[in-house]
């Protein structure tokens, strides 16, 4: 049973649903809840996802039934109906999605049913009360609604077309840049990727996603439900992979997809070799200063499961940093934790990281301290330095207390502005190195 969380790095299901909807061009959410939910949740991702903004119809623009105490007593379906009616008249949307908050679900309003009455006006509904769980649950709910009620089933499937699942807008602060790069990478092996949220995607394109031959889920905590739904409704199988960061990740990703789609290993190899050559042609620039003043660091990675292994593998296998501690905040189930731990078998550094599951931000400092020998007043002490914390914005104080370098990558990120940047692939890894090293020289 999920217990309390000290400084959670997720909003609720409705928050994740709104952030997901904001990731799709020209979609208008209609929230059936108390007046504050939509604006506040959308605002959270505006400020904490690298100043991502509220999107096409976010923030206080979000149409909301604004239910109050009398609706809690008498029900709010009529109010929702009135709200939908006026929203489709006033708002230009390629699709309208009714989302629900806790209050109306507890009293038993059938919001999805009300939405269904407006099917001819491009309205669909998803049940997304906050108590379903964290933001990833809201992503799943919206995706499942799209897959079930909006994406058209297709009798034929394009063998080289795939859908990408598991990348949650906002919750992955770099989702747009990452998806653009995933799409480009897959293009190198002749695969066309449908991403829902990246450049060039649209509601009408999404309607045709039923033609894909495979779904690729880049997370173990988001996207699996939608992938199952794709399988049952559209007959499309799926594989679970991971966000590729750096050469090691890129190679594994391209190989896995090529094998699954029956693409020749040689083609994948050729594509990877070109990417790797590009990566090293730039990395070479930094070799001199890296070596002259020793930029190698002990790495502490604090992230959700989406980023934790991907980042650790890049830092350890590609960059040659020492992976000391990796803390994951979003897996509660022990069997799932054991499964996730297996991912770290591919860490090739001599020193292996200690991997822990810790959802309380405030306990991480203790975890780091307990992972290293204490200084018992000895004259010569092998201290935990130089260190670098790669986490969310909340870990800034952890880094300060450790005297470590710091880069925020995982949500929430409010100390940097993120536009089209991504960390995926070999190109994204170069951006990541730029950011890591920039922070080490920024005071000069």
């Amino acid at each position: 049973m999920p217990d309390f969380i000290e400084r959670a790095k997720f909003s609720c299901a409705l928050g994740g649903a709104l952030s997901t909807v904001a990731g799709i061009a020209r979609v208008v959410p209609i929230v059936h809840a108390a007046g504050g939910c939509a604006g506040s949740l959308s605002g959270a991702y505006n400020l904490a996802a690298g100043y991502r903004g509220v999107g096409y119809c976010g923030g206080n623009m979000i149409p909301t039934s604004n239910i109050a105490e009398n609706n809690i007593v008498f029900g709010g379906e009529e109010r929702l109906e009135e709200q939908i009616e006026h929203t489709v008249k006033a708002f230009n949307g390629d699709l309208y999605i009714v989302l629900t908050g806790c209050q109306v679900e507890i009293i038993g309003d059938d919001a999805v049913g009300v939405a269904r009455r407006f099917k001819d006006e491009n309205v669909i509904g998803a049940s997304t009360p906050g108590f379903l769980g964290n933001a990833l649950k809201g992503y799943d709910a919206v995706m499942e609604a799209l897959i079930e009620s909006f994406i058209e089933p297709s009798p034929v499937h394009d063998t080289l077309s795939v859908n990408i699942l598991g990348v949650v807008p906002g919750q992955d602060v770099f989702y747009h840049g990452n998806l653009d790069e995933i799409k480009r990478l897959l293009g190198l092996i002749g695969v066309s990727a449908n991403t829902f949220f990246s450049t060039g995607e649209s509601v009408s394109a999404i309607r045709g996603y039923g033609r894909a031959a495979l779904n690729i889920v880049l997370s173990t905590q988001a996207g699996l439900g939608p992938a199952e739904k794709f399988k049952s409704v559209h007959g499309i199988p799926y594989i679970v992979s991971e966000l590729p960061i750096g050469p090691a990740g890129t190679e594994a990703f391209l190989r896995q997809v090529a094998e699954e789609l029956g693409i020749s290993a040689a083609l994948a190899e050729e594509a990877f070799r070109a990417e790797k050559a590009y990566y090293y042609s730039f990395l070479e620039r930094i070799v001199d200063i890296y070596s002259d003043i020793d930029f190698q660091r002990y790495a502490v990675v604090v992230a959700d499961s989406y980023y934790a292994h991907a980042l650790t593998r890049f830092l350890a296998n590609d960059l040659g940093w020492i992976p000391h501690l990796t803390a994951i905040n979003d897996i509660e189930d022990e069997a799932e934790q054991a499964e996730y731990l297996k991912k770290f078998d591919d860490i090739s550094s001599k020193t292996k990281p200690k991997v822990i599951f810790q959802r309380h931000a405030g306990l991480l400092l203790g975890e780091v301290r307990n992972s290293w020998q204490l200084n018992r007043n000895s004259r010569y002490y092998d201290s935990f330095s130089p260190a670098y914390v790669i986490g969310s914005g909340i870990e800034r104080s952890l880094a300060d207390k450790l005297g470590a370098g710091f880069l925020s990558v995982a949500y929430p990120v409010s100390n940097r502005a993120v536009l089209n940047k991504g960390y995926a692939g070999c190109r994204g890894a170069l951006s990541l190195i730029e950011d890591l090293i920039t922070n080490l020289v920024a005071a000069r």
């Binding site: 208008v28 506040s40 904490a48 206080n60 006026h86 008249k89 209050q103 929430p412």
Partner: protein, 510 residues
Amino acid sequence: MSKYSDELTYGFAKAAAPPVRETRIGVCAAFCGTCGKLNENVKSGCAQLQSRKFSQSGGCQLMLAMGILSSLTNIVVIIHSPLGCCSGFGGIAGLLKTMRASKGKKEQEFVWIHTNMDQLDVVNGGTEKLRNAILHAEKHCHPEAIIIANGCVPGIIGDDIDSLASELEHQLSAKLVPVHCEGFKSRYVASGYDSAYHGVLRHLIEPIKKQDLIFPDEGLDALERWQKSRTVNIFNVGSNSNGDEVELSRLVSALGLIPRFLPLHASIEDLERISEAALNVSVCATHDDYLLGHLKERFGTPYIIDTLPIGIKNTNKWLRRIAEYFHLEDEAERLIRLENEQLLEALEPFKRVLEGKSVFVGGGETRILTTAEFFNSLGMKLLGVKAHNVDRFVEDILEETAGPELAIEVAAGQPAEELNILNKLRPDLYCGHMGANGWVARLGIPNLPLFGQSLNYMGYSGAFELARKAVKVLKNTNFVQNISANAQLPLRKEWFDSDVRENIKETESA
């Protein structure tokens, strides 16, 4: 005192939660027309009964309540709810840090905990998780107070957080402060301020017991009495910048009084000493009539709720009211004369730029009306104002700001209505609340924020800064022009052509 609050009562301290503002004060949340008509309708009670056919997301009283309480020193906030309520803390925790730094306060890490209520808790109740969260906070964070915010879910299923708090309070070193701020309970989000202060009043302001000295010191007693007789509590609000506090401090000090800013960013000890003052002064009625009214009933401390010290006229008025209480009228007049003379001279070059330019102001009722008055005094043409809500506290300034014919819209948020109006009025400059300016920029109208952490708006220096900022914004408007030419608004042309008044309806109940 205030003629508007004198007839209100504040004896709610025994109740777990205060009454919402709909019933306590009476509020208009939906109106579109002129200031004169609005005042008429507010007085007759019709305006308070209006709502809308189509509405957009506004605020939540939980956010406002926690906005106040999260600023206190050495506390932990527990959000008893699913993960979404106050998840904005992830983005604003850093802002709290820079705010404290700007005030020269000791750096502290803001810690909040979500009880993370799920489907099972909806059925079984979530007080056990809350208990665990409270114990975790006590054990790991050692705060002086633990604020417990009750969200919609426990509010609807009836979790009894007060009994749990009473049970635990004597076992912990931290004071427990339950706050009932369920979003669905009030459409008027400023109810959240009352909820927050209700918690403060019930649990955090018990005066520190004085110990008798072994050797009584009459001189010391006299000094303490004198200090109290000169101390003025100024009640700050979330939109106060440190610059505002420095400026208001300067003015009140210039009268020979001792200013003290409360309750935001205060320590628990500051709150326990809240009654050690001669006078309580509000800078914004929307925030604190509940707090000041209660302090008057409990400690007999008189208070002033009048205007917000923005612009020359209202800063003068605010100062005069304080001076009047202490019989410092002559001193105040000398100060005001000197300040006004220097300021007016400094504003001359800005006036030449702003004269004749049109402006529209949107945000909280008192703030927009005083800000609008200042722009007007610079020779700008006031096209209209938009207030989140309107209640009795602005009756006076509503009409005197720009006359009964001034266009006014009452709406918390509701950018669709506001953009409709702005698109027709097309002001040269817009000044608005957070969350509005981005939409106005997409419409291509140059804009500046109504408040901000790093800017000074209040007092005479604030007036200068506001004028300076308006002139600066107009020096290059390419950003909004480029954005409006290239970004899309989600609203249809039919909406922009429609009459906003058609969206207002008589509500089913208040």
